[in-house]
Symmetry: C2
């Protein structure tokens, strides 16, 4: 944890395929603004950055600030990106050419810049203002459309050999599957997230609804307004929390797979805390409670597991923290 | 990687339940001596350290050196130990009381002392003089009686929140097993090492030999002198390398489980290199080749996997490196 340059205004931006979150912080580390915008013009870096900085300038103007007054900007992307290379890869939501995007950003802003993966920055946000304040060894696992991960080790983000750390969606908790299925490299999802992500839970629910066990009076169908094609992971989680047997059956494998992955990560990394983030983990106490119990059934010693606190604001807050070099 | 205090003589000691390896290095980092002794008097720290330092002094005397001339000593133990606490735990081979052993060591030696887990020090040894020279991000997995792990991240050993990092034997690659079996906490082995360690392979071989598929003319039995009770992991690995179908069938699950665990660790940690150490991994090119192929079948991007080079000398060499603060 460094303390240099905490003075002055900073911006943190969490870029998503559909929504982008902006955070502006003051010199005392106070959050002055947190606002979300629909992401537009994302087919290439140039128009995207023109849009991004135009939005940022408007938001700054509302605080009587200008871009030039910012001491640093942190930007998180849904993919692999290095602070020293600036080439975004493995970002299906932003399929840009493989080139350094920093010169494009520099046309708009000359101050300190920190580019990072969105999950890394979400972890920083949770460490600064959320569930992991004061911790030095934290594993974050995000369960949403896919599954991601990030880790704070000895008080700093760990980036790996090529900034590709924390690709938890590709963890293997079902040894042997690779012998009987398509190679992983051909799949859009990794083997863990194919089952345990929100997308995986939704897919499992639809298989169940099309199968012989499905009933017209199921709570799942009711939650989705009676339309089988509309059932998704949120309905499964809500029905499971209410005790619905069908939802409990559908959620069993996703829970067990994620618990196995977290147990594996915890014995490898020996964290003080595992933070569960992302939309699925935010569905309520039932999910976190189930994961906590199942992980600790696998482990020889208990590990602390808790929900993220900042929700979809964590990435932008962490990006501002990284820009201010408060934590990274 | 630090470079302070590389001058002078240092000793590295790798303590095992049955064998203890001693390494003495000179001021230029050259290894002056590497010798193994049978471990004796290990029921409590006091007699153990009296034995250890008596052996060390004899070895030093052969080089015309004394304990007082050593600038530092590193000692590795088969369990969890912290350099700042000095309490050895999770060490079935050395079931000492849970108390700080540093005062006991201090009766024999006053200079710089570095205590660590044996796998951590084996990794340092491989980084200094073995398979991982010049690497900054290395995962080591040792497959022997059990399964252990260690990691060099950003050029330094990562210790975790409570020095319990790298307990790879407890990784879970068979999600759901905990619902149908005894709790892990009741088992001496973790779920991965119960299948994939040398002990696991031996147990699987004995089950096969007692089963209906066993044949009197099997290569496995031949390698064990015709005695089913004498068959162990080494015979399975040798027969599998020779193409024996029974051995290939027995080794299938251990290979697949270890590959799944390494794949999971690699996507989490994004290492430059995975070093495979321990007796099973040292059995020959067949094993490492199979693990490498299977890991890369699971992964969306390739990871480099290679065998350790220093064998059972790595821990003592790494302990000397830690004592000299060359790497740790």
């Amino acid at each position: 944890m460094t303390t240099e340059d905490q003075t002055g205004y900073h911006a943190g931006i969490d870029v998503g395929g559909t929504k982008t979150m902006f955070c502006i912080t003051g010199g005392d580390g106070r959050i002055l603004l947190l606002e979300q915008r629909n992401t537009t013009a994302h087919e290439a870096p140039e128009p995207f950055m023109a849009w991004l900085f135009s939005e940022l300038e408007q938001l700054l103007a509302g605080l009587q600030l200008t871009l030039q007054q910012l001491k640093g900007i942190g930007i998180g992307f849904p993919g692999v990106i290095g602070d020293t290379e600036g080439i975004l890869t493995q970002a299906p939501a932003l399929p840009w050419p493989e080139e350094d995007i920093r010169p494009v950003i520099r046309r708009h802003y000359k101050g300190r810049l920190h580019l990072d993966n969105d999950v890394n920055l979400a972890l920083l946000g949770e460490c600064w203002k959320g569930a992991a304040q004061g911790k030095e060894h934290v594993l974050m696992i995000t369960v949403g459309t896919g599954i991601g991960g990030a880790m704070l080790l000895n008080g700093r983000l760990y980036k790996g050999a090529s900034f590709a750390v924390g690709e938890a969606g590709y963890m293997v908790v079902d040894a042997g599957y690779a012998r009987s299925r398509f190679p992983v490299s051909a799949a859009a999802f990794g083997p863990l997230e194919a089952v345990a992500s929100g997308s995986g839970i939704t897919a499992l629910a639809r298989v169940w609804l099309a199968g012989p066990a499905a009933r017209q009076d199921s709570r799942l169908l009711e939650l989705a307004g009676g339309i089988a094609e509309a059932v998704d992971a949120r309905h499964v989680l809500q029905a499971a929390a209410e005790g619905d047997p069908a939802a409990r059956e559908i959620i069993e494998q996703p829970l067990e797979h994620l618990a196995a992955a977290i147990a594996s990560a915890a014995v490898l990394l020996n964290p003080q805390l595992v933070v569960l983030g992302g939309g699925v983990a935010a569905s309520g106490e039932y999910y976190v409670h189930e994961i906590r119990n199942r992980v600790n059934r696998y482990l020889p010693f208990p590990v602390a597991i808790g929900p993220a606190k900042l929700g979809n604001r964590a990435g932008a807050v962490g990006a501002a923290a990284a820009a201010a070099a408060i934590l990274w």
